[in-house]
Symmetry: C2
Amino acid sequence: MKGFKYEDTVNRWGVFEAELMGPDEGNPFTEQSVHGVFNSSEETVECEGFYDGDGIYRIRFMPSFEGMYFFEITSTFTDKKTGSFFVLPARERNHGPVRIKDTWHMVYEDGTPYYSIGTTCYVWIHQPDELIEKTLQTLSKSAFNKIRMCIFPKHYDYNLGEPRSYPYEGTPVDSANITRENFGEYTGKTEGNSWDFERFHTPHFRHLEKCICELEKLGIEADLILMHPYDRWGFSCMGPEDDDRYLKYVTARFSAFHNVWWSLANEYDMMPAKTLDDWERFAGIICDNDPYQHMCSIHNCLRHYDYCRPWITHCSLQRNDLYKSSELVDEWREKYQKPVVMDELGYEGDIQHGWGNLTGEEMLRRFWEAACRGGYPGHGETYLHEKDILWWSHGGELHGESHKRFAFLLEILKQTPGSGLMPYPGIWDEICAVPQETVRREGVKDYYLFYYSFMRPSFREFYFDDDSQWSVRVLDTWNMTIEDRGIFRGKFRIELPARQYMAIQIRKVEG
Amino acid sequence: MKGFKYEDTVNRWGVFEAELMGPDEGNPFTEQSVHGVFNSSEETVECEGFYDGDGIYRIRFMPSFEGMYFFEITSTFTDKKTGSFFVLPARERNHGPVRIKDTWHMVYEDGTPYYSIGTTCYVWIHQPDELIEKTLQTLSKSAFNKIRMCIFPKHYDYNLGEPRSYPYEGTPVDSANITRENFGEYTGKTEGNSWDFERFHTPHFRHLEKCICELEKLGIEADLILMHPYDRWGFSCMGPEDDDRYLKYVTARFSAFHNVWWSLANEYDMMPAKTLDDWERFAGIICDNDPYQHMCSIHNCLRHYDYCRPWITHCSLQRNDLYKSSELVDEWREKYQKPVVMDELGYEGDIQHGWGNLTGEEMLRRFWEAACRGGYPGHGETYLHEKDILWWSHGGELHGESHKRFAFLLEILKQTPGSGLMPYPGIWDEICAVPQETVRREGVKDYYLFYYSFMRPSFREFYFDDDSQWSVRVLDTWNMTIEDRGIFRGKFRIELPARQYMAIQIRKVEG
């Protein structure tokens, strides 16, 4: 069929894409539309297509089941297209989109528990090819399975350069004279930008989706930050119609990627031009236009959003206190009754800003605290660099110490029976995690993970019951060693090396 | 005069003591009393005497002024005694009792600022002579200028032995079978004690006052803990008449020592037998019987006492949170409008309990945080010891790292213009201390002490005004180095070594 293409097989949770040729005159972004209905014996899904430049329109669909699918595609510019395709089993390592389980935890759609170990590289996709390649190499060797990243470029300390491309047709303000001394004068309201907010610059979005696909290959969720305040180009203060058009375009374009998450904003409360009504309207657009209901949240600076709102799948939190971050996960679990993802625990590094100069030890400590309290930690790194390439924004290479130890944490987390950990209440001088499932049962649990944080006990004493046998392993979370201490019964004592960052894993021996 | 002795000179803020012989039959503690009135051109002071055994009664007085004093001493057992003595200038290093200044700070009565650097050795006075001597040697080499210590012996983990003496005539419960496993069964209500609460065991108190005098020679305030819950002998649950008699005896005996502070209790809220009315009555007895109005407080475990009560001179706080301790000094200064003494910030050590296994680094960090927020830090140490000699209780030797660095802190604090520091409000990623006096002046201050705690900035930038000149010193609070960086003006940048525990001291250059 001339001007209409699609593949007739696709893997479960892969991307089915149909391409239609259509008009490139006028403004295809505002004047044309494409709509699809996808049918199988298991589901019916409707979704929107998008214009990709050069007269090419695309519509994408993510099948959630195996087997035969039929589709009907209608548009403002051509006759109805129908067809079918066959959905094969998921590719190895594709477990489907991340979903909520047991109120506070996450699993992939195929049931595999998802222990989020996140990082932040706000504008890694906006960098030159070589640096992007380096970022992907770094990620491939890491334990990270989620990354926070912006669609719009970033203007901030250490982020004064131009991005590789812009999301709109037009020209940016001249940035030749920006320095660290005057960068604060360049804001989203800066004069001198000239954008057509009705025409997306499609190479920018094609590049972004290439990056999303590269992350997918690495098993990494792409937590897409849709808006943010650190802007000199005016993308943070577009009008409501422009905002809404942008969100519809983004959801039409990216929803079919199983590894996409939506983050309405980084630091929504630093964007005074947007009201609460705006954010709620944005959330409505996303929910209406994302048929797969991907993970969706909004990230705070000083004030939490109301994470109880029904469209929010999980808390995406930045710490509000210089001292306590992960330590408050218990509280927020109770308050919001949702998974608590600590997306900003502070950054390991040595820059001048207090949020960006934690030691590796402290970052790792915050990771374990978050995980053992039944939350999910997020990393970032801000070491001074001769070329101002800081992982937190630009990606590249990691220079810190904490990240080397996340695979060890992840390995231990994956040993949790069930979908995730919960904090055992009422204990004050150690952190005790038990499987979430066991909360419903009174009495002794089958599995305990004790974490000692900055404390340095020389020993600890335990008593669960008189009869059970308990297998005990001592974990050094910094040095990544595991010592099997054997089987114990009744009241027992475990010697420890009086070092920080130790943990004890205790499992009931069956039978 | 037969049976009546006193010295006719004494130093200002020293102890004048008159000794009277009287009856030793019956119960002199309950049946006899001694009362004195001390007069000079500057003050008139009334106070009570006490029975010291063997027919000896004593009355003590601390003159607050130099010059001639006259006295009249009356008693239930002999005729009125009168006389006079001459008060010489204070001995070198005796600056008088500690007083409150500028709401949140402390000065000795002669006006010298008092920067409290406390420690805790609960029952060091109850140990054998050799260990007491070792404690005094350790103190003499330390920066400590306050010590928390109990009049009653202590029963607790690592504190299972008998004290060298008891405060009452009688016999204690047999403790031969106490072990770490069963010590919790021995409480203040334990059967088997046999005490006459109407007869003080005077050698116990003579020994205590000898220890107070030794501390005085070292320039150390004796923060006397009058009651506490960690007891198997029943001293924590005497009846009201016994409690009151005890407090009258203690105040009569010790008030004349200029370096005495009163702490009504350690962990008052762990003593359920005492009501709020009891504590308030106790406070009344102390205020009525201490003519010098020594520093007076009460120490919490889980719940703060109402430190706004008028008899309380200062907050004597134990941290209530595993993570935040000194960091809350700002809040408590505002709440209570009194000096905030962080008497328990946790303990440096390696025992099993979470309150007793901090690193030296963390203890020192808490010290600097407390001091830079305009509070006063307190130390303690709980390292495992082959003979269970832990500084926190027994004194002896220090094994930790933090204490070696307190003299450096004290030296810096003494450089503060005026009586003490206050926290500069509204700064979130550094701790900024300025002299308390400057709070009343708007605008730029003359002196700033910035502390970076666990953060590791590679540099910091400053701007106070265009014209002043600023002398800048970089302090490494752990390695105890001071680097003079020279004089700066306008906007300036100070390089830092990207290590934890750094501080910057900035002083306006006059003229």
